[in-house]
């Protein structure tokens, strides 16, 4: 018997084992997954909206509040020092996670949306003038559309949208053509589409913009939990993500920005912590990153994000990506067995989610029926109404995967979709 034949084929692996992950152990770290919903085991497939939290993150927040919590950056007492060390420790973890050059390039915000608004307001407000252009793609989340529309309204600039194919792939030539107008001041685009699952070719997109001297913001809300990101290798100018989508608590976001750009930008909000000296005549601003962190931040939550990044790094994003890819392939094949089910978003480079419609059944009805089977999915426009308009549907159902999901859970999803058909036929 040769060595190869001793290995089980992927399809014969026990459903709770993945190639490189011990899913039983991983799932045991998520207390919330143990419960039943309407009497059925919870199958949580709404991870693109927000992901569940491992014990390490829940404990880190509890230890902060229960053991050493105080306000940061100002107290001379021990608790304040300990909180400051933990808070700044999380900044270093975020730096390492993105491979940024310096902790001064890591700004804590409330979420991806606030990170993008910070750039639109501070960078955009000082650089963009009437007649200038901002380029985005047709597959953006509202959070990477509306801040730019507001900027355009304020300045008289124009928003340009690069289209994508029926499969959900960006048309690179069209994107490049938009960059060629000579008036583009920023390109802002999503790394991994929350509505389609498409992974955009961000490196070539960044290079195309830079070749024309155009800075780039990447919306990484969906990508960071699923694939390794190296901001220096990408050479992006800004990268934004949210803690709550990467196993950390809600209420925290990260904005990476190149130091030279951040230094040249005016503050986003004024207040405490972002100043060096205040008189009624004039205020000197603090250095990076504090210049962009006005007021008391979400201290315990930032520390929780640090714990989440440690936890995910220990598992390894490569193993996570391999497991989720296997789940996506299995789910795609199983979903296609269902007559009348149409998967929206079939890009060659795709991650972690399946958005679909089912003939004759509105996604909201699918969502309600699946919930009664214990299966949590998202139904709606996924804060990406232009994507829905592109395909001419009011909404889709979306199953999105995380590291703790199993093939058993894909089976539960498919089984409950057959129940939907049974009820509606």
């Amino acid at each position: 018997m040769n060595a190869m034949s001793a290995l089980p084929a992927l399809s014969t692996l026990p459903p709770t084992r993945s190639a490189d992950l011990d899913l039983v152990r991983i799932r045991a770290e998520f207390p919330i997954l143990r419960q039943k919903i309407h009497g059925k085991p919870l199958v949580y497939l709404d991870n693109a909206a927000s992901v569940q939290k491992p014990r390490a993150v829940i404990d880190a927040i509890g230890e902060c509040y229960g053991g050493y919590y105080a306000n940061i950056h100002r107290g001379v007492h021990l608790l304040s020092e300990r909180s400051t060390v933990a808070y700044e420790g999380a900044r270093e973890k975020a730096r390492a996670f993105l491979n940024a050059a310096s902790v001064q390039e890591i700004i804590f915000t409330r979420n991806t949306t606030e990170s993008i608004n910070l750039v639109a307001s501070s960078f955009g407000g000082s650089v963009v003038k009437a007649g200038d252009q901002i380029v985005i793609t047709g597959m953006e989340h509202h959070s990477n559309i509306v801040p730019w529309q507001l900027l355009c309204e304020r300045t008289g600039a124009v928003l340009k949208v690069a289209p994508f194919t029926d499969a959900g792939e960006l048309i690179l030539e069209e994107y490049e053509r938009l960059l060629d107008s000579g008036r583009v001041k920023l390109a802002a685009f999503v790394h991994l589409s929350n509505a389609l699952g498409t992974i955009n070719p961000v490196k070539p997109m960044i290079d195309l913009a830079h070749a024309r001297g155009i800075p780039v913001l990447v919306d990484g809300a969906q990508s960071v939990p699923h694939l390794a990101v190296d901001v220096q290798a990408l050479d992006c100018d800004f990268y934004a993500f949210s803690s709550h989508k990467i196993y950390g608590p809600s209420g925290v976001g990260v904005l990476y920005g190149k130091q030279a750009l951040l230094e040249a930008m005016p503050p986003y909000q004024g207040g405490g912590d972002m100043i060096r000296l205040v008189t009624f005549e004039k205020t000197e601003y603090a250095d990076l990153p504090n210049k962009f962190e006005a007021g008391t931040p979400s201290i315990a939550e930032v520390i929780g994000l640090g714990a989440a990044l440690d936890w995910l790094t220990a598992i390894g994003l490569d193993a996570v990506a391999a497991h989720e890819h296997e789940l996506l392939e299995y789910a795609t094949a199983r979903l296609q067995e269902i007559p009348g089910l149409n998967i929206m978003g079939t890009a060659r480079d795709k991650a972690a989610l399946a958005a679909f419609t089912l003939q004759g059944v509105h996604p909201h009805d699918i969502g309600t029926i699946l919930d009664r089977e214990g299966v949590a999915i998202r139904a709606g426009h996924h804060c990406a109404q232009p994507v829905m308009q592109r395909y001419g549907v009011p909404a889709t159902a979306r199953a999105s995967f995380a590291v703790y999901n199993t093939r058993d859970e894909v089976d539960a999803l498919v089984k409950s979709l057959w129940k939907v058909k049974e009820l509606f036929e």
């Binding site: 509105h362 909201h364 309600t368 709606g380 426009h381 109404q385 829905m388 009011p394 909404a395 509606f424």
Partner: protein, 147 residues
């Protein structure tokens, strides 16, 4: 499955598949759009009112089974009714889909939507068409939202 049948009753599934009065009324006296910003569902209602009576009523739009069936059942319930009764009916219907009240007799077929009360996130689906009718009669020009 049995509790789902309480929500998705045969009458509802039937009205979803074959909505009644699903058309545009070209000579309507009142018209309004309703949108549910939460899900993007959109509905237009048309009324032809003469001497304070709803002579004809129709709707168009795309929505879930609950909102489509509710709109369809509503058009059947309101056709021929005096405008003055609409508000009273809406109030009674709203109670039925949000509280554990006994269904009042006057609601007729509309009471099949009572199962919605067990699904708080779906109440807006059931009331979207009613909000639109109310807006049409108040002559709102902006789309009315459930939020």
């Amino acid at each position: 499955m049995s509790d789902l049948r309480d929500l998705y009753q045969e009458v509802i599934l039937d009205h979803n598949k074959r909505p009644r009065n699903f058309r545009i009324l070209p000579q309507s006296t009142h018209k309004a759009d309703g949108v549910n910003p939460l899900c993007g569902d959109r509905i237009s209602v048309y009324l032809d009112v003469e001497d304070g009576v709803i002579k004809d009523i129709a709707f168009q739009g795309a929505g879930c089974a609950i909102s489509s069936a509710s709109a369809s059942l509503m058009t059947e319930a309101l056709k021929g009714k005096p405008v003055a009764e609409v508000e009273h009916l809406f109030e009674a219907f709203h109670n039925v889909v949000t509280t554990d009240c006994e269904c009042p007799r006057g609601l007729g077929k509309l009471s099949v939507l009572a199962g919605v009360r067990e699904y708080p996130s779906r109440v807006k689906c059931a009331t979207l068409a009613w909000h639109a009718v109310r807006a049409a009669l108040e002559r709102h020009t902006e789309p009315v939202a459930t939020e």
